[in-house]
């Protein structure tokens, strides 16, 4: 489902992020409102600290037990599903997506796949990934003779 994917450090990926930022709430609504195959759901924000990379996604209405998070190499996969309404539901308006989703996010920094923690609070998923030892900043002690 991921199809073409631009790495975030790739100029096109950056352009896309910038365009989405400029579009503001329009772009925010698009992923869930359409929920079409191939759409990038969920949208993510990624930031870093010295030792960790954080990935956050908004997945309202998804339960912990319906989420699956995988890290393979630099690829973080977020999979899940949101329960669908019964067939006979009478909708006056239907903007919220339902069903299964899956997204692969190429992480911009090497991580240690054994040190990943995820939490889900009020529809906000936060994944904390420890940076690989090689890319962590290291303090070099100057020895006194």
């Amino acid at each position: 489902m991921t199809g073409r994917r631009f790495s975030h450090s790739h100029p096109l990926g950056q352009l896309r992020t910038e365009v989405e930022r400029l579009l503001g709430d329009f772009s925010r609504q698009t992923p869930l409102a359409n929920w079409v195959p191939g759409a990038q759901y969920p949208a993510v924000n990624i930031w870093e600290s010295d030792h960790d990379v954080f990935v956050e996604a908004e997945v309202p209405g998804v339960k912990e037990s319906d989420l699956e998070i995988l890290v393979v190499g630099d690829d973080l996969t977020i999979k899940g599903k949101r329960a669908d309404a019964p067939d006979d539901t009478s909708f006056h308006r239907r903007e919220r997506g339902a069903g299964a989703f899956s997204r692969v996010v190429r992480l911009p920094i090497e991580v240690d796949a054994d040190k990943v923690e995820a939490s889900l609070r009020e529809g906000v998923l936060e994944i904390r990934l420890a940076k690989a030892a090689a890319v962590r900043p290291r303090k070099i002690q100057v020895k006194a003779h």
Partner: protein, 133 residues
């Protein structure tokens, strides 16, 4: 669908647009409006809130939902990718008199706000039994 009892007030011209949050952004939550036998349900995707951060008002036939989304990252954090922004959720709906406004109730779970809007007695479907004399 024949009698749509909720509709939005002037799409795109939210009265709250002038009421800006600290970050200056606000978002229109995606909603489902479902009709049941004795109530209308509004489900709104409003992640990252708590019950004390949601204001629901009903005034002059207009239902307003407002979620005050607190910041989740410290100012000046180093973003590597930013695909969505954060800001308050805001949306208004026009509600007809067929709703019993005094009995509107709400709950918030998994980042979804559910509003129960009971139909007024007069709007409920009723089966009339014909009595044999």
């Amino acid at each position: 669908m024949a009698t749509e009892t909720t509709h939005e007030t002037k799409p795109g011209v939210e009265p709250g647009a002038a009421e800006q949050t600290r970050s200056g952004n606000w978002y229109r939550p995606n909603v489902d409006i479902i009709e049941k036998q004795d109530e209308l349900l509004i489900l709104a995707d409003m992640p990252g809130l708590g019950v004390d951060l949601i204001d629901i008002r009903f005034e002059d036939g207009t239902l307003t939902i407002h979620g005050r989304v607190p910041p989740r990252q410290a100012d000046g954090v180093r973003y590597l990718a930013r695909e969505y922004g954060l800001g308050d959720f805001y949306r208004t709906f026009r509600v007809s008199e067929e709703i019993d406004a005094s009995r509107i109730s709400a709950e918030y779970r998994h980042g979804v706000l559910t509003l129960h809007m009971p139909k007024a007695e007069a709007a409920k479907p009723r089966t009339i039994t014909v009595k044999a004399s």
